[in-house]
């Protein structure tokens, strides 16, 4: 297993570090290719679309952010209502599905990007895409810059059976997308969600208590000097710093019990006043001297290998880290700071420059979103990526079944031998019941509940009821996962945080150009060595060294001339 882990790490390195390096080194070359590109760009859009012509859909998405198929037989996800396996890539399946459903050929030109900033730079440089999947703040920026094509009315028609997105999007997420606004327009007009999550800490429960890890202030806690990693990007770091600085305010009862709590919270967490930026700078300078590293990808590996004890992480990657550690029998946990957490989304948006007024293309783009929202495809993507989809499936039970499949307590493992025997017997009963009884699923549930009670006894507190109704829709108690008792700080919690945690989440808005400039300046100040910190003796030493070198050079030169 170690070998795989190692390879995995290498993969990260290859992807991010080198990409970054190549980006910087070739920035100039890219600038150029844009210049030339404009000259050569073929005007493919000319003329009315011919129904027999293949539609070309240019999609750009995060790296490794869609199922690429080619699963092994054993990977099949067996759910009560369906077996799910990815044979071909989702892209290929989409092309086939589109032809079968709408009778037109579509070809997806799929490409990937590494960061939102990379994507934005590509767009500025003139790369044309029809459909892209950035994070919420870039979506907001693109909305504000009026670069997006609104989703068509038919996309929201729930009576169309192929409109998997609108039929299946979680009511919780849908509400956020309909209430968050830019320039008076809701996100939902332009954007369809893809994956989502919150920010928090992966921590090693043997070293750090949950309570300690539940505040942003741990980043500057000298007790864990050089043992915690923080994200190497300005937005995430800014959010954490604001959370830590305003900790007392955010945790005060007065603030918490205010009727406008949520609104106030978002205002406080998005505070970009000059005083706040100055405080954040000071705080992050302390953090820089206190943390193990600013990391882009290495944090997961460092957490698993035990180099650090706490890792600022996005919940999706948190699940991944916990899973990987589990394979090494190393138990990690995930928690969300009490002050507030940043709820984030990646979503599909259509670009004006790509789609134009080509309705056939727009149709294909929306169909692409819908296809990726089909419950079985959603599950394939979630399985492949490890993040949580914004889809709950609506009337379709598959996605909830998948959540249970992943996170429901397993009764046939991790129990003593005696109980395991009981368990087998119980399973036999289940099988018989399944054969005999029409209502097999209900019967199974009853039996397994019975088993739990039987085997319970000394381990009565083994499981908890984890309510995810807020996400899957319905009254509290409608969608409950019976999970292991530790689910509250394990994968289930990372994948579907509790309603209580989401109650103190805030969306981090996009910043205006001036705010961005000020914050980026702050970030450079944090990361750069300040020349005023060079002590006088160092200057004298340096001058002496330079003088010595010059003297030596002159002397050597003289000697040669003398000899020559």
């Amino acid at each position: 297993m170690n070998v795989f882990k190692y390879l995995n790490i290498l993969n990260f390195l290859k992807k991010r570090e080198i990409k970054k390096a190549v980006f910087v080194l070739c920035a100039a070359a890219v600038l150029l290719s844009c210049g030339i590109g404009t000259g050569f760009r073929i005007t493919a859009k000319a003329g009315e679309p011919d129904p027999d012509k293949t539609i070309v859909l240019r999609v750009s998405n995060w790296e490794e952010y869609i199922d690429e198929g080619d699963w092994d037989e054993e990977e099949t996800i067996e759910l009560p209502d369906a077996d799910i396996i990815g044979e071909n890539s989702v892209i290929e399946d989409f092309e086939d599905w589109y032809y079968e459903t709408y009778g037109r050929k579509v070809r997806v030109e799929y490409s990937t990007f590494g960061t939102n900033e990379d994507l934005y730079n590509m767009l500025t440089l003139g790369d044309e895409f029809d459909l892209v999947c950035p994070s919420e703040y870039l979506i907001m920026k693109l909305m504000a810059e009026q670069e997006l094509v609104p989703l068509s009315e038919s996309f929201f028609d729930e009576s169309d059976e192929n409109n998997y997105y609108i039929k299946g999007v979680s009511p919780y997420i849908r509400n956020i997308f309909e209430t968050q606004e830019i320039g008076g327009e809701p996100w939902s007009k332009y954007a369809a969600g893809y994956m989502w999550g919150v920010t928090g800490f992966v921590y090693n429960p043997e070293v750090i208590s949950e309570e300690e890890a539940s505040t942003w202030k741990i980043l500057s806690d000298p007790a864990y000097r050089r043992q915690i990693t923080i994200k190497d990007n300005v937005r995430d770091s800014y959010f954490a710093a604001v959370g830590a600085i305003k900790s007392d305010l955010l945790l005060s009862d007065e603030f918490r019990n205010d009727p406008d709590y949520k609104k106030n919270l978002e205002r406080e967490m998005n505070d970009t006043s000059p005083e706040m930026i100055a405080q954040v700078q000071e705080y992050l300078q302390n953090v820089k001297d206190n943390v193990y590293s600013f990391e882009t990808d290495a944090g997961k590996a460092d957490m698993i290998t035990g180099k650090v004890v706490c890792n600022y992480q996005w919940s999706g990657d948190g699940v991944y880290t916990l899973d990987q550690a589990d394979e090494d029998d190393f138990e990690l946990a995930f928690t969300v700071p009490e002050e507030s957490t940043n709820i984030y989304f990646d979503g599909w948006v259509m670009l004006k420059r790509g789609i134009g007024d080509d309705s056939a293309k727009q149709h294909a783009a929306e169909a692409f979103i819908n296809f990726n929202s089909r419950p079985d495809i959603t599950i394939r993507n979630m399985y492949y990526i490890g993040y949580t989809s914004v889809l709950s499936g609506g009337d379709d039970p598959l996605i909830f079944e998948y959540a249970e499949y992943n996170y429901a307590a397993e009764e046939d493992e991790e129990e003593s031998d005696e109980e395991a025997v009981d368990e087998e017997a119980a399973e036999d009963v289940v099988e018989e019941a399944a054969e005999e009884d029409e209502e097999e699923s209900e019967e199974t549930e009853e039996v397994s509940e019975g088993t739990e009670e039987e085997s319970g006894g000394d381990e009565a507190e083994d499981t908890i009821d984890y309510d995810v109704s807020y996400f899957f829709g319905g009254e509290d108690g409608t969608y409950v996962i019976t999970a292991d008792a530790d689910a509250m700080h394990r994968q289930l919690f990372s994948a579907y945080p509790t309603r209580e945690v989401l109650g103190r989440s805030s969306v981090m808005i996009y910043f205006t150009q001036e705010q961005n400039a000020a914050i980026n300046r702050m970030w450079v100040n944090v990361r750069c060595f300040n020349i005023h910190h060079v002590p006088v003796w160092a200057w004298i030493l340096i001058l002496a060294l330079i003088a010595g070198a010059v003297f030596a050079a002159v002397k050597i030169k003289r000697r040669f001339h003398g000899v020559g």
Binding site: K20, A517, N520
Partner: protein
């Protein structure tokens, strides 16, 4: 069909034009304009008035200087022993020094990270040291090779002559061998010093979170500030030119000396 010898150079000329000259012009354009496309020198003055950019330049120079010094200290004795030895297999030994360069860069640094973790316990306690070790690890072959080449071509008769004329070993080394190996030292130094100023991937991977010139430029570009980023690239380019001219200039003198 007939080609003149000159036309053989066309592919390279085209390559140079497309991938070096034109991007450079674009770089200059961005460096001297602002967001509105108007001419400005504020990017330039901004660099030299900001304590953080100057600090980064200082830090990069310091890191590069220390790395170069360490490389030279390690490489010179090695190259000297190898270059002057009568071993038949010495080219094989030199090969051994170059061998690590065949392994993927990020793989090497990842391995180094593990080694350093074992040695230091907590890697993050010594960011500057780690950066120096990482850079040295990475660039040492670039220092050894030119030194070895120069020293192994050194005419043994000259050292013998010096000894015959009464110079002791130290004096022979200081006044004959060292000056004669100067071209090797200079090309080694420039091959280590310049990349060490910008190779921030080593710092990133070894958890030194202070920016050097490379990462500073990167941060400007990812903050969409192409103008500032281009200006820093240009200033760096100018520094490299000056450095090359300086070492190149004395290299010729040194070569002249070596020819004697």
């Amino acid at each position: 069909m007939h080609f003149s010898r000159k036309s053989l150079g066309i592919p390279y000329a085209v390559f140079l034009l497309v991938f070096v000259v034109l991007p450079l012009l674009v770089l200059v354009f961005y460096a001297f304009t602002n967001g509105q496309g108007q001419f400005t020198i504020s990017n330039f003055t901004g660099f030299f008035t900001d304590p953080n950019t100057l600090g980064t330049l200082f830090y990069s120079l310091l890191l590069a200087a220390v790395t170069t010094a360490v490389c030279l200290t390690l490489a010179y004795p090695t190259a000297y022993i190898l270059g002057t030895s009568k071993l038949k297999s010495r080219s094989v030994i030199v090969m051994l020094f170059v061998l690590p360069m065949w392994i993927n860069f990020s793989l090497r640094i990842t391995a180094l990270k593990e080694i350093l973790t074992i040695l230091e316990g907590n890697l993050a306690m010594y960011p500057f040291l780690n950066a120096v070790i990482g850079m040295t690890y990475d660039f040492l072959p670039f220092m050894i090779l030119p030194l070895y080449t120069t020293i192994s071509r050194l005419d043994g008769a000259l050292t013998e002559a010096a000894m015959d004329l009464g110079a002791d070993r130290t004096r022979t080394f200081l006044e004959v061998v060292l000056p004669l190996s100067l071209p090797g030292i200079l090309s080694g130094v420039s091959m280590v010093f310049l990349p060490a100023m910008t190779n921030y991937v080593v710092l990133d991977m070894l958890y030194n979170s202070t920016y050097i010139m490379g990462s500073l430029i990167g941060s400007y570009f990812s903050a969409y500030d192409w103008h500032g980023g281009s200006m820093i690239s240009l200033i760096l380019l100018a520094l490299i030119c000056i450095f090359t001219l300086l070492t190149g200039g004395s290299e010729e003198t040194a070569r002249g000396g070596a020819l004697l």
